[in-house]
């Protein structure tokens, strides 16, 4: 079987795996957030933290819960890193410097998992497990909770309650993420992923030389790193490291893990609103975008135009032999399309076209298919915009799923969409304008600009992958990228929760002859068009200066 055919069969196999999970996992998640009954362990937990699980919350209370929970998460994670020498199993590794600790704390709490440190030299087991692994789970739970709250806005009518944030967080953790992560971690172990509490081990090479290999509690973090679309590696090389991703099977399984929850959440949405086709249409938009980006990256990586790649005979710099090009681009587009940010190849060494596709996967607003929860609320916000635009064209008050979209709803959607481009363009512009930035770049010319653009796109979209040649350890980058992650995460969340509250308060409008059917392919085209329109209008100039210039040179 030749390379391309084998790669295509792998893609088909991945799609079959996802299709097999779509209904069972999607409907399971819908049940998790609709049934009344609490598990006994949950009731005990609610009593322990003094929460009344029966109490529904208005959107400001729900939002205060999300913000408060995330705030204390950042503080705890920051303190764990700063106090590392006092913690057990730290292997003598010192306190993480303040700017790095701030950046990392924000990064893991916002589900970004941008990493400006070398994990195997910086962090011990306690920070890895009690700090980072925890946020790998909880930041994903926050994403699911916010998405579910928005769906409730469509489902409910004439109420100011959109759910209970503590119940949603607990159920997302206890009933979805932890059980799936545990099973996934065991499967990863079987596939050869390491799991050690030791700091490292000495190995003797065939030449008799001794080398020290760092070890880490890999499998438990690896599973939830992908499942929660987090992406922060326990080793510097992330999923390119043989201890994190030892072979072709573990590689495909990791790609599956990052896609499975965002994909199945569209089914959860469809089931909760009582019409699975509503979710399927949104999934088809995500799928077409993902497929198109994959095709561009695949073609670009197999047809490199850079002089160094041509001299080498192919774009294998920064790629592993066991993955080759097809499994590297499949991983790369899935990781940027889902806001995961894990890498099994170094995106900075990708071709202009391939790197541009990875960058675009983020700049579309992380909806192809987006992060856990954030992908669903991201595409729902874009669906609101699409309905609004369609309403403008025919001159009717737009409505979506029986809810009228007036000034409040469209404003919330616009705020949610526009904050990311504003942060990316202002951040990248500011960085480029500063004289010190040129020294921080790993490459010259158009590719150097792409490194800066990629960094802010990755931060503001809570992706976390990098064109890693750029040195981001200066206080300027640590702090501005940290702020970009915070704004890119929490401004949309606030807007989405406000949208949820305003939708839940409305009575349901019965569909009329003039209502736009939102479960038909035409609506998919409208949503996809809105995604592309927003991204093209805001980012075309920036993309032209970076990846497009490199691809066409």
């Amino acid at each position: 079987m030749n390379d391309t055919l084998a790669g295509l069969v792998q893609v088909a196999f991945l799609l079959v795996l996802l299709a097999a999970c779509y209904v069972p996992l999607g409907d399971h998640m819908a049940r998790v957030f609709t049934v009344e009954r609490h598990w006994r362990v949950e009731t005990a937990l609610y009593r322990l933290v003094r929460v009344d699980p029966a109490g529904g919350q208005r959107w400001p209370t729900y939002a205060a819960g999300v913000l408060g929970f995330s705030f204390v998460s950042v503080v705890l994670l920051y303190l764990l890193q700063r106090l590392q020498p006092l913690l057990p199993a730290s292997f003598g590794r010192g306190p993480v410097p303040p700017a790095t600790a701030f950046n990392t704390a924000v990064s893991f709490v916002t589900n970004t998992n941008w990493q400006s440190y070398v994990p195997e030299q910086t962090l011990g087991n306690t920070v890895q497990m009690a700090g980072l692994t925890v946020q790998n789970v909880l930041s994903a739970a926050v994403g699911i909770a916010v998405a579910v709250a928005l769906v409730r806005g469509f489902v409910r009518a004439g109420t100011d309650r959109i759910g209970n944030v503590w119940v949603d967080l607990t159920r997302a953790t206890v009933r979805i993420l932890l059980p799936l992560a545990f099973v996934a971690a065991i499967l990863l172990l079987v596939m050869g992923v390491t799991m050690s509490l030791r700091s490292g081990v000495d190995m003797t090479g065939v030449d008799g030389a001794t080398h020290t290999l760092p070890l880490a509690p890999t499998a438990s973090q690896e599973a939830v790193k992908q499942l929660g679309t987090n992406g922060g590696g326990i080793f510097n090389a992330n999923s390119a490291h043989p201890f994190e991703n030892p072979g072709a099977v573990s590689n495909l399984f990791q790609i599956f893990l990052m896609l499975v929850v965002p994909v199945c959440l569209t089914r959860t949405f469809g089931t909760m609103v009582g019409n699975p086709r509503q979710g399927a249409i949104l999934l088809s938009v995500m799928g077409v975008l993902w497929g198109a980006l994959l095709a561009v990256a695949w073609f670009a990586e197999t047809h490199p135009n850079g002089p160094a790649a041509l001299a080498a005979g192919g774009a294998m710099e920064g790629k592993e032999v066991r993955f080759g090009i097809p499994s590297s681009v499949l991983f790369g587009i899935s990781t940027t399309g889902t806001s995961t940010g894990a890498v099994n190849s170094m995106h900075d060494s990708w071709t202009g076209g391939g790197g541009g596709a990875a960058l675009l996967a983020m700049l579309l607003g992380e909806v192809a298919p987006g992060g856990v929860g954030s992908g669903l609320y991201g595409i729902l916000v874009l669906a609101v915009v699409a309905v609004f635009l369609a309403g403008l064209m025919v001159g009717r008050t737009p409505e979506y799923l029986g809810k009228k979209l007036g000034r409040v709803q469209v404003t919330a959607a616009a705020v949610s969409i526009l904050v990311m481009p504003a942060v990316v363009l202002l951040g990248a512009g500011l960085a480029i304008a500063l004289p010190g930035t040129a020294d921080a770049l790993g490459n010259d010319g158009a590719h150097g600009f792409s490194e800066v653009l990629y960094a802010y796109a990755s931060a503001a979209n809570n992706n976390g992958s990098a064109f890693a040649g750029i040195t981001v350890t200066s206080d300027f980058f640590q702090s501005t990228l940290g702020v970009a992650m915070l704004l890119g995460r929490f401004v949309p969340i606030l807007a989405v929760l406000a949208l949820a509250g305003s939708l839940a308060a409305q009575r349901r409008a019965e569909p009329t002859a003039g209502t736009l059917p939102t479960d038909k392919p035409l609506f998919g085209v409208l949503v996809g068009g809105s995604v592309l329109l927003v991204a093209a209008l805001t980012f075309f100039p920036a993309l032209a200066l970076g990846p497009l210039a490199e691809a066409l040179s």
């Binding site: 055919l5 084998a6 937990l45 322990l48 003094r50 400001p60 205060a64 819960g65 913000l67 408060g68 705030f71 030299q121 009690a130 925890v134 789970v137 909880l138 967080l169 953790t173 932890l178 545990f182 065991i186 172990l189 050869g192 799991m195 050690s196 509490l197 000495d202 190995m203 065939v206 030449d207 020290t212 290999l213 070890l215 438990s220 510097n236 090389a237 390119a240 043989p242 030892p246 072709a248 495909l252 490199p304 850079g306 001299a311 080498a312 710099e317 920064g318 790629k319 592993e320 032999v321 066991r322 993955f323 499994s327 099994n344 060494s349 071709t351 490459n443 064109f467 040649g469 490199e550």
Partner: protein, 198 residues
């Protein structure tokens, strides 16, 4: 509003502490416990002795009589090709239009061609490009074939036998379509050492 925020933050802190115990201690230690089961414990620790998981380039005592198959170049290496600095991991992050990378490719090509005694054009792609991790344990069958003649010469093994060992260390795509055909360098070197009786 502010009192709501304060109250919710306090609740959030209590929940965070409980979930930190569950997700940060119970969950990873449970996975660790499973990893201790017989059959899993070897790979869980990276099967570090003579690891065939991690690729660290062996260094010949006498470069003129080099008995080893070599791994791919590593970005963390001090020299042109290897060995990598195993205490860290990562790639070069050089772009395809980087002149530094262009120079590095030319140097690696010259070094490999000189070592194997072949024309520079015969050196395959994976031999002149650094891997993503710097610890790539695998090379392409083409790069293994290129090195087979030298290894046979230096070790004194018949050409055909070394080639048979390469074939045995070559893995096709898993279940026919996953990944790429690979040759595990550590495994191959151990097999050669055993055959040569060293």
């Amino acid at each position: 509003m502010l009192s709501t925020l304060r109250r919710q933050t306090a609740t959030g802190l209590r929940l965070l502490i409980v979930l930190t115990v569950v997700c940060g201690i119970v969950y990873p230690l449970a996975v660790w416990g499973v990893s201790r089961l017989p059959g899993l414990s070897l790979s869980a620790e990276g099967s570090a002795e003579g690891s065939s998981v991690i690729g660290v380039d062996p260094v010949a005592a006498d470069p003129a009589a080099d008995p080893f198959f070599h791994t791919r170049p590593a970005a963390s290496a001090a020299g042109v090709l290897g060995p990598a600095d195993t205490t860290t991991s990562g790639g070069s992050n050089e772009a395809g239009d980087s002149t530094d990378l262009l120079d590095a490719v030319a140097q690696r090509r010259a070094a490999v061609a000189a070592r194997e005694g072949v024309a520079p054009a015969a050196v395959p792609t994976d031999a002149v490009t650094a891997s993503a991790s710097g610890l790539d344990p695998d090379i392409s069958p083409a790069y293994a074939a290129l090195q087979a003649a030298r290894v046979a010469r230096v070790t004194g093994l018949p050409d055909a036998q070394v080639r048979a060992l390469v074939d045995r260390a070559t893995d096709g795509r898993t279940i026919g379509f996953l990944g790429e055909p690979t040759v595990d360098v550590t495994e191959l070197n151990l097999a050669v050492q055993q055959a040569a009786g060293r």
